[in-house]
């Protein structure tokens, strides 16, 4: 991205414009050029600062103008709007139909409690001074001053659980690696966010990459590792570019003084988001799942004790050390403590990122925060937790966003993604897709997943063609149980969630 700076003596007006993938995909780059060109033509002094996204994706590209009383937003802004915006003198925050007022006071943001995403969309992701000015680096400073034992205790006390989907307590994982004697230990960041409906990892890496690097440095200090890897998926080219830049800035400023971090790029295998497959891939092999035990905490990358944590888990640690583990633990519901960055996706009017304490209901998220479907049709189903998550009908919208509450209803919080479908969805097709996806992405190591997913497609095809529907429905349930109980990892083990939930809550779709 080209930062545009004017070097005139008088002070330029600051304009903030995201360079987040979602904004770029909606034309933010052309918009930046159009704004710069128009300002030049009119002789207006401006400085365009490229940020991450605030997470209000229906307003992207969202342009913010710095004023003495705060940042005023305009969105969604297209290239065609630029002349008109300058004509009403938007640099003086004059009224315009696209003006959303003070961005901080927007209802979508006011309803949130941002810990992990506190800086995202506000700062220039590669500006070290922005990072420091907004509280960056304090978590690592605390950990360096207090030492490993106090850091482990704080992470445990915060109740932070793995945000990748499994929800395993981060403190216990870290302690296990700390307590395992070894000359070499590793910290591995799982940035292979492959679930459809999720983009929080991507947004964080593009909008506040230093938070992740700081989290990894803290983890390394706590467990005694000197080397870290970020395994990022190849489908995130923008995040890769930002992280590469962030690593070199972080090195310059001593953030990685005690732990070198290397970026590794995946090659399009969904299963590599599973931690043991990821480790195999990092070792340069096929991304095949390992049997557990041994746990990666004992026997991980190259056989050494390894922490494998998701992007959000690691990026949350600096905030909770800075603002207090107890304050974080005070938020949430049941055993799900703290906040969860929820991603509203698919057919939804107000899609984007919404970070709140655990416990909010699906209804509030979809109807109130999300504003229903983008198409304006009734919501029929939502899939929560990615391609392996259950489909829920409206009757289950009272479910609270909480690991245990979803498990109790045979669903998944997963990585916190919600995909909304309107009343035109064919659930039989969605069930078949789940099996098809599993067949395409299966690593092939265990038979239930490798063969069962193919058989699952075939059985659903028979149901679709109207052949022995009752018998085949029984067979499908039976097959799902085999997959659930017999698979090595969550890919085969969880694919029954979308299939069986589609069958249970939308049986009419299977008897057309």
């Amino acid at each position: 991205m080209r930062p545009l700076t004017c070097t005139d003596m008088s002070k330029p007006t600051r304009i903030y414009l995201p360079a987040d993938s979602a904004a770029l995909a909606l034309g933010a780059e052309d918009l930046a050029e159009a704004i710069a060109a128009e300002a030049l033509r009119l002789g207006k002094l401006i400085e365009i600062i490229r940020t991450g996204s605030r997470g209000m994706h229906w307003l992207e590209p969202l342009v913010e103008i710095a004023t003495p009383t705060g940042r005023i937003g305009y969105g969604p802004v297209g290239v065609a709007d630029v002349t008109g915006l300058f004509a009403v003198d938007w640099l003086q925050a004059e009224k315009h139909p696209l003006c959303i007022g003070k961005v901080e006071e927007h209802e979508f943001l006011r309803r949130q409690d941002r810990w992990t995403f506190a800086r995202c969309g506000i700062v220039d992701p590669l500006s070290w001074s922005d990072f420091i000015a907004h509280g960056g680096g304090q978590g690592l400073a605390w950990a360096r001053a207090q030492g490993a034992a106090a850091t482990l205790a704080a992470v445990t006390a915060s109740g932070l659980r793995g945000r990748g989907g499994a929800g395993f307590p981060a403190g216990i994982k870290w302690r296990t690696v700390h307590d395992t004697a070894s000359d070499i230990k590793y910290v591995v960041c799982n940035a292979d966010e492959g679930d459809s409906g999720t983009f929080a990892d991507r947004m964080l890496m593009e909008g506040d990459p230093f938070a992740l690097l700081e989290g990894m440095a803290i983890c390394a200090l706590a467990v005694g590792a000197r080397k870290g890897f970020i395994y990022i998926r190849s489908e995130y080219p923008r995040a890769i570019t930002v992280l590469e830049g962030a690593l070199s800035v972080a090195r310059e400023h001593g953030l990685l003084r005690d732990c070198e971090i290397e970026l590794r790029i995946g090659a399009g295998a969904y299963v590599c988001g599973e931690e043991t497959a990821l480790l195999e891939s990092l070792e340069g092999k096929r991304g095949q799942v390992r049997a557990k035990p041994p746990l990666p905490a004992h026997h991980g990358l190259f056989g050494k004790p390894t922490v494998v944590n998701n992007v959000l888990t690691l990026a949350t640690v600096p905030a909770l050390l800075t603002r207090g583990a107890e304050a974080y633990a005070a938020l949430g519901s049941g055993k799900s403590r703290g906040t969860i960055p929820i991603q509203l996706a698919g057919n939804i009017r107000h899609g984007g990122l919404f970070e709140v304490p655990f416990g909010i209901s699906l209804r509030e998220l979809i109807d109130e925060v999300g504003g229903g479907t983008a198409t304006g049709r009734p919501v029929r189903a939502v899939q929560v937790g990615g391609p392996l998550g259950a489909y829920f009908p409206r009757a289950l919208f009272d479910t609270a966003f909480d690991y245990e509450a979803f498990t109790a209803r045979e669903g998944l919080v997963g990585h916190g993604g919600i995909v909304v479908f309107d009343d035109r969805v064919d659930m039989r097709r969605q069930a078949r897709f789940a099996m098809e996806f599993c067949a395409a992405e299966s690593c092939g190591k265990c038979t239930p997943c490798r063969v069962g997913s193919v058989r699952g497609m075939e059985v659903i095809d028979k149901i679709v063609s109207g052949r022995d529907i009752d018998e085949n429905l029984v067979l499908l349930e039976d097959l799902c149980n085999t997959l659930r109980l017999g698979s090595l990892c969550a890919l085969g083990g969880f694919v029954p969630f979308p299939v069986l939930s589609a069958l249970r809550y939308f049986p009419q779709d299977f008897r057309r």
């Binding site: 909606l26 994706h57 459809s196 983008a374 995909v419 996806f437």
Partner: protein, 153 residues
């Protein structure tokens, strides 16, 4: 760039010091040449002191690796659930008709290769596509055409 054994050797040499070098080496070769021809296997295996079976296993495991050269621009259309909820299947049918090719196929003029992708992280602005290096949200055929036109320059 056409496949070239000497250039491949330079790329392998530049990456072989890494821990677990096979994947980064293959990625770098793929990035340089756009595909991994049959002769890659033996050359990489020899350089990394691994068996040809191991390298063949790695190449064939990962969806990103092509075995044949592709068109000038790759058009990746997302096929995952969030995009399905916004009509990506109908869009895919339309795109393949307009291009006159199916998944993994290349247009007759060699300009575009149509490829599926499972999630670009643009699930809130679906359907999504990646055209060359250009991300496209709320994709439809006219917007994809615009992006393709940009790639021609």
């Amino acid at each position: 760039m056409a496949w070239n054994k000497e250039k491949a050797a330079v790329i392998i040499e530049a990456n072989r010091h890494l821990d677990g070098p096979a994947l980064p080496v293959l990625r770098a070769l793929h990035e340089a040449f756009g595909y991994l021809p049959e002769e890659t296997t033996a050359q990489v295996a020899q350089a990394l002191n691994l068996s040809r079976a191991e390298i063949h296993g790695v190449i064939t495991f990962y969806h990103d690796f092509r075995r044949e050269p592709a068109g000038l621009t790759s058009l990746k259309l997302c096929r995952a659930e969030a995009c399905q909820a916004m009509g990506s299947e109908a869009l895919a049918t339309e795109v393949s008709q307009k291009l006159g090719t199916s998944w993994h196929g290349t247009t007759r003029d060699g300009r575009v290769t149509l490829e599926p992708v499972f999630c670009l992280g643009l699930c809130s602005v679906a359907p999504a596509a990646l055209v060359g290096t250009e991300l496209v949200g709320r994709a439809d055929w006219p917007r994809l055409q615009q992006a393709l036109a940009k790639c021609d320059h």
